[in-house]
């Protein structure tokens, strides 16, 4: 990878790690895992199910919040504070800046997810006192969660490249919510007629299909995940993130930094 992208990414990672809000969110995630254990103890024979469900949902939600919270300010904050001036007056291309920021945030989320995953596995061991082969499926769910983060990061960056942090947050969060119901939207498009059908179909394929990434419930019930789904989700997430990043680059390349 281009050295300047690596330097920008590592600076973004360092900034996020030194941000106290990030630590607070990790603490919240740990607290939620603690709550999972408590719920597990008062449930009968379904402790493991509850721990996996609650733990992975917490990992996903906290990660999404971090991705949106940090992602929306990645470009707009730099413009507002004018920290960008001393970066772009160097031999740094604008696309390198955007891509570096993306990898910095994505890297932060991967590291963050790694620590939260340790919390989930610790909670699981606490309630079941052992690991079984099916527990490895949790890694697939975590992988899908990380793919979701890549999409959210790229969208937050896209919005951040032309909008204020507040509006970017609204856009990114709305897309996350709509994307979580993308399958329902596609179902609705199938039932609609005329212009509505075209519009609904267009919207259904434009919003990120997060529902395809949600395998938490089936994994909690120890149902296997098809390798085709893993491949499809990987290609889809990388393609979607690349498209959103390209949009961010396109906008940012032509933006006057007043």
């Amino acid at each position: 990878m281009n050295a300047r992208i690596v330097h920008i990414a590592s600076n973004t990672f360092r900034e996020a790690v030194r941000d106290r809000v990030l630590y607070n969110l990790i603490a919240f995630a740990v607290l939620l895992s603690g709550a999972a254990i408590l719920v597990g103890q008062i449930s009968i024979d379904i402790e493991k199910l509850v721990v996996i469900n609650l733990g992975l949902t917490a990992v996903s939600l906290f990660g999404i919040v971090i991705a949106i919270f940090i992602g929306i300010g990645l470009v707009s904050k730099e413009i507002e504070k004018r920290t960008l001036y001393t970066v772009l007056s160097r031999p740094v291309r604008r696309w390198e800046f955007i891509v570096g920021k993306f990898f910095g945030l994505a890297g932060t989320l991967v590291v963050n997810t790694f620590f939260m995953a340790i919390g989930v596995f610790a909670a699981l061991f606490y309630v079941s006192h052992k690991f079984v082969r099916a527990d490895a499926l949790i890694l697939v769910a975590l992988y899908f969660i990380i793919l979701e983060f890549f999409i959210i990061c790229s969208l937050a960056l896209l919005f951040s490249s032309f909008s204020s942090p507040l509006l970017s947050a609204v856009f990114a969060f709305s897309l996350f919510v709509i994307g979580s119901f993308a399958e329902d939207l596609r179902g609705f498009a199938g039932m609609a007629h005329g212009v509505t059908r075209w519009l609904a179909t267009g919207a259904a394929y434009l919003v990120p299909n997060f529902s395809a990434f949600n395998v938490i419930s089936s994994i909690a019930h120890e149902q296997p995940v098809a390798s085709q789904l893993i491949l499809n989700n990987t290609v889809y997430a990388l393609f979607y993130a690349a498209m959103a990043l390209s949009g961010a680059v396109l906008i940012f390349e032509n933006r006057n930094l007043k």
Partner: protein, 313 residues
Amino acid sequence: MAAIEILGLEKTYSVGFWIKRPKRALHPLHLKVEDGEIFGFLGPNGAGKTTTLKLLMGLVFPTAGSARLLGKEWTDPEVKAQIGFLPEQPYFYDHLTAHELLNYYAQLSGVPAKERSRRVAATLERVGLRNVQGVQLRKFSKGMLQRVGIAQAILHEPKLVFFDEPMSGLDPMGRREVRDLIEQLKHEGKTVFFSTHILSDAEALCDRVAIIHQGEVRTIGAVADLTSSVQGKIEVIWQGTRVPASMKALGSECHVTGDTVRAILDESQQDAAIDALRRERLKLIALTPVRTSLESYFVEKLQRAETSAASTV
């Protein structure tokens, strides 16, 4: 070779929410700065100084025109490796320490890894921040941030340095140090282009200046030429507190300060004044032509521009 060659750069913004109106921030600008010069870009607030610098740094895009820096297209990334830039009222990543920040900028500027550490340490020493290099920038005062800004601009040993209001936020000692640093940069063979509205700094440092007002360059010239434009007077200083009648007779205005007297006379009376002081056995200390200050020239130029603008309305 010209270090900077601006070929008709201009910038017009669209303002207004619903109905967009054009607002010209910079009229077509033509300017040439020679290699090794210290060039001052002077003008009141909102004159177009920062817009010009942002255009040259590629932070905003021109409506028309182009520029060449160090003989190459100004958008060429290779050129940027040889340029240093201090923005006005700089703000930096405050989660980093001064050392970390400079190291980051050195990485982005392509300073080789084995040289980076030495270069960062030397630059911190040069701007007087060596003893606070491990402190996070969020704890820095405005003046210290300005020093960091200057450090990041010269860290990678650029051939051409742009400073936007470099003295801003500095105390008198700090201003003196920055003046010395700019002079050192010139001695090192670098070209310095700096914008300021503090005219004494420009007068003390610059080889040439341009005066910009309302987005338009009004004058470009050597400081010596601009400040000698109002002539015909001499300043005579002698020792003592006595003003002889013969000096008064020459029609001079005399001011006694401490144990010296200062008189302003027409240039034509220079010999008569020397004779008068000799006759009275008074010790002549200095006799110099009166030059207008850059400030007087600047004010006069702007007033003239405003008067002509008002008369055309």
